[in-house]
Symmetry: C2
Subunit: 245 residues, 2 copies
């Protein structure tokens, strides 16, 4: 079933406008009585179309959906800004796998330079990708996409567990820290995950993060590309905590 | 360090030709004494450039690499043929995460139709993508990419564990079968993983696979797109078996 995230204000007025109305009316050829899901803040509702005008779709609420599909932890990604369209891929895959928020971070080894004037446009586009991915994977919440930032401007103090995915850890066959950290999580914990860009984490960045309480973790013996790291982390957390034995 | 997979025959002659020689000489501007890794069948060697001609790169072997980065199981993917460039993505990500082989399967709900005459060209292109991804992730082995096939032409009898990733299992909140199967694996086991295309698995396909010994498994509460399923499976297997507590 299709899902759309809308504002609380539209929800209270029981009307869809703009892109969402166009999508339902014109792209999907919606009809009176068609049902779909609406996400409002972190709540979901099954709704039914009651009326359509040229630019609006009116609906009534059938029932609130109580199913929660969110991870039992908040897992936020601080992603070293990668090349090409990889950030889009990371947002798409990360959203499906339960990512909480993503902070694109220009790190020392990021090849891409982004002018300040373009940051807002990019943020808006990334946020839109997150909304679409959250709709497709029927998430309760849309991951927040932050403005592109820099490492020393971030306050990590609100996190309970801080993981630095560090290639050298994997190369040195450090294999136990990640699982130890994941197994020690408690429901509601906030987890920060830092992933370097293609060239990895610079030694100064590593020192800075360690001072902030980050622990270096290795993710097995194969070299993972930057865009794959968070998928491993989120899949592993889901496997450990969402699947029973 | 860069890695290249070459034939046993080239390795015995201690010479690189064709694309690999061009890559080293021209793209990477290789010099005498430069070192890199060569993969030959499932073995890896550290080698050094000794001489270059216009079209050849000669090398000597410094040492055999004994590090094994392969999963302790053979995990083969039978992927319902997806839309667009998703199969390429699956090959790239799956190779990084340790996939054994991939069999692209035209299933009932595959939207794409592929003429027989084009299958060989596609297979060659997919295999090349697997080689490049295996080189980048320093795999010991290149995943074999099979010719595009159909479900009823496949012999699954060589597999010890057969997993059908089934969206309805996840929707019905079946959460224990996957972990139970993964935890029961024994070193060297052969695992077949079937993933449907965008529209999922048809009931007849499900019956057929169950007759072949497949078990339906759910992968958590979120809806995963077809291209994400095997990443979850491989990450979970790595987490369970390659990382210590």
């Amino acid at each position: 079933m299709q899902k759309y995230f809308i504002s609380r204000e539209c929800f209270e007025r029981r009307v869809l406008e703009g892109d969402t109305a166009f999508q339902i009316k014109t792209v999907l050829r919606g009809k009176i009585k068609d049902q779909f899901l609406l996400g409002v803040d972190a709540q979901s509702y099954l709704v039914e179309i009651t009326k359509m005008t040229s630019k609006e779709v009116f609906f009534e609420v059938i029932e609130e959906q109580t199913k929660n599909v969110e991870l039992p932890f908040v897992v936020d990604l601080y992603q070293g800004f990668p090349k090409g369209d990889k950030l889009e891929q990371i947002i798409k895959y990360g959203t499906q796998l339960g990512m909480g928020a993503i902070y694109p971070v220009i790190m020392k080894r990021s090849v891409v330079k982004i002018e300040n004037s373009k940051k807002e446009v990019k943020q808006k586009r990334y946020q839109k990708i997150a909304v679409e991915a959250a709709e497709q994977s029927l998430r309760n919440q849309v991951p927040f996409v932050a403005m592109i930032t820099e490492l020393d401007k971030i306050d990590f103090s609100s996190y309970d567990v801080k993981l630095l995915c560090y290639e050298e850890s994997a190369k040195n066959q450090e294999t136990s820290e990640f699982k130890k950290q994941i197994c020690s999580l408690k429901p509601g914990n906030r987890v920060a995950v830092v992933v370097g860009p293609e060239g990895g984490i610079d030694p100064k960045e590593k020192s800075f993060l360690e001072q902030q309480g980050f622990v270096c973790v290795g993710l097995g013996p194969r070299i993972l590309r930057t865009e794959t790291v968070v998928l491993y982390v989120l899949s592993a957390i889901s496997y450990e905590w969402e699947l029973g034995k």
